[in-house]
Amino acid sequence: MAKPRLAVFKFASCDGCQLSVLSLEEDLLILDEAVDIAYFPEASSNMQPGPYDVALVEGSISTPEHIHQIAAIREQSKVLITIGACATAGGIQALRNWADADHFTKVVYTNPEYIESLSTSTPVSEHVKVDFELWGCPIDKAQLRHVLSDLLAGVMPRLPGQSLCLECKRQGHACVLVAKGEPCLGPVTRTGCGAICPAMGKACYSCFGPADLSFPHDREQANAASLAERFTTGLMMSEDEIRRRFQLIYSYMSPFKEIGRRDEEQER
């Protein structure tokens, strides 16, 4: 039987998630035996055309050309997996979705007319069907291994979406929110990073995005509004401080999106 064909694509991103593929270390050589790495420009000059069995997509859709490219990738790929916050949720550069993008271009470039960019940075799922999403900024290598092993075994992967607090408590860290009074986003953040910020004595800034509490029941969102309320009444944070806290890497994802916009809602 022919080996499954794997492709790795990049859109707007920092390269950190596909670097996680190269950082699989000895497992990279095992992966190379198990699959045919057909397209991975960062690793190889030999770029083979599709179709592919599995496409890993890094980066957000942020130029007019991207929209056509992602559609072509979808057509050529049996399974399409987004890797990381940019591809899955628009990434940190989705902050421009809330700003005057023309202004943004002028801040960085003296001749904005040379720059071809969409006014928004959007998740891949807004353009094509995505079969599985890997969260994280960056993704966690253990989760990537898990997902690739599942796919090679012929099963659709499944990863936990529960709140980071469970992992943090299991590791026995003092609660950063309760004990230190810092605006920890752990209660509303998806597990997966390994609770590294609380382990470092720091408040979680949600690099894994909003928790998804839907499994095993219906889709249920983390209660970000309640946590924001706690920041207001308990930590005396200003509306702008709260907005900045929720509007960082996942500014374009519900329910963080709504927290970021609620001052505007009130004005209306």
């Binding site: 990049k10 000895e26 190379d32 801040v107 470039y109």
Partner: protein, 431 residues
């Protein structure tokens, strides 16, 4: 005159996406344009209005390969403005964190991205089919760098502990000591790496380059120093605060990255520049290993960058060992300071070269203005000039070979296009 056009979709084994555009009319070169099409991400714009304390975690996201460099240039800038006294042990830990990044980034480039060019392969995975031990050594070296980053910062990509004033938490002596066995292995592996790459076959390509790198009184530069620019006689020393008076960024239509010049001319940053300017400050083991390898300094052939990178890999490993062996945890992970309004600049040595940051902050600590000059935008024009020099010698070959020769020059610079956009589909037309 004969007319041909070549399109190669993307230059491989670089970080990020771009293109090279070469136009020839007969034997005359019309244009050489390094065309960075990696989309802009507008970091300097969305930093405005953010609190200085948020900046290290934001700027890390510019680059997944050198996030520590971005965090370091940022915190050093703010610490100058707020006049923060950094504990000497915390300062050493920051050097250790930087060692981790240099080790993982240099091992990645030497073994996975660059070596295939010298050995005639498309990828390191192909090398591993005939020489698995070489590739395994590279992957394990990378892992040693990643382990340092993980111990100090929680993870290798976008570590989380760096903050203005120090770290959110510092490691125990025991946690660092655990790294020593692997680092001792890495020291031998890095020496072998220097000898291995020094024995590769290099094209003749020596040019009278202008090099720029940080230079520090006693240390091989990571975090501090003046910017030294190589001259015909002595190096010119420029304080970091004067960077923008000497180095200017320009926008060109063919690239999403701004190009940076030194008094209107291209210059060269990165391992080759650093080694030429700072070889006198190498650790004795790195200096003697380089001497045995038999290359005379200064190195003026960009293909020797792989050797410079290997020497720096060794330098980072031995420095990491020294720091860990001498480590006593500081009393406090971060120093106290008072926020004040003003403008601040800092430059540190990212794996790929000088990384300059400037911020203007208000009395509340909110960023009003941010400017970031990454190494790849500084090397961009230098790469274009190198390709102009290369072309006449390869012009008689077929298009695929010309393209491959150009790509090889580009990869010597280890361009990080993700950083610079603010790299590579290759188009070549012959008229």
């Amino acid at each position: 005159m004969s007319s041909r056009t070549i399109h190669v979709d993307m230059v491989a084994r670089v970080e990020g996406e771009g293109a090279l555009n070469v136009e020839l009319e007969g034997d005359a070169i019309r244009h050489v344009q390094l065309n960075i099409f990696e989309p802009p991400r507008f970091f300097e714009a969305f930093l405005q209005g953010r609190h200085f304390s948020e900046v290290p975690d934001i700027v890390a996201r510019i680059c997944g390969i050198c996030p520590v460099a971005y965090q370091m240039s940022a915190v050093h800038a703010f610490e100058k403005l707020f006049d923060v006294g950094i504990d000497p042990e915390v300062r050493r830990l920051r050097r250790l964190l930087y060692c981790g990044e240099w080790i993982e980034s240099h091992a990645l480039h030497i073994y996975l991205l660059h070596a295939p060019d010298f050995l005639g392969f498309d990828s390191a995975l192909e090398i591993s089919r005939t020489a698995p031990d070489v590739v395994k050594r590279g992957l394990r070296l990378k892992k040693v760098g990643d382990a340092i980053l993980k111990t100090l910062g929680g993870r290798a990509v976008h570590p989380v502990s760096v903050c203005v004033g120090g770290f959110s938490r510092v490691p125990s002596k025991q946690a660092l000591t655990k790294l020593l066995d692997d680092l001792h292995w890495a020291r031998d592996a890095a020496v072998e790496t220097v000898h291995w790459v020094a024995g590769l076959e290099f094209p003749d390509f020596d040019l009278p380059y202008t090099f720029a790198a940080l230079k520090h009184g006693e240390e091989y530069p990571f975090n501090e120093g003046n910017i030294a620019v190589s001259g015909p006689d002595d190096d010119v020393l420029i304080p970091v605060a004067g960077f923008e008076q000497h180095f200017e960024e320009h926008q060109v239509a063919h690239s999403n990255a701004l190009q940076c010049h030194y008094h209107g001319k291209p210059y060269f940053v990165g391992p080759l520049a650093r080694l030429n300017i700072n070889h006198g400050r190498l650790h004795p083991l790195a200096a003697s290993t380089l001497a045995i390898a038999g290359l005379a300094l200064p190195l003026t052939n960009p293909f020797h960058s792989i050797v410079a990178r290997a020497v720096e890999l060794l330098e980072a490993v031995v420095e990491a060992i020294d720091i860990i062996e001498g480590y006593t945890p500081p009393d406090r992970a971060a120093a106290d300071f008072k926020v004040r309004a003003g403008e601040c600049m800092a430059a540190t040595e990212a794996p790929r070269g000088v990384l300059y940051h400037r911020y203007v902050v208000d009395a509340d600590g909110l960023v009003k203005e941010a400017k970031i000059v990454p190494p790849t935008s500084q090397n961009q024009t230098r790469i274009e000039e190198d390709i102009r020099v290369l072309l006449p010698s390869v012009i008689d070959r077929d298009n695929a070979e010309v393209a491959h020769a150009c790509e090889r020059v580009i990869r010597c610079y280890d361009p990080c296009i993700s950083c610079a956009t603010h790299f590579l589909r290759l188009t070549m037309s012959r008229h």
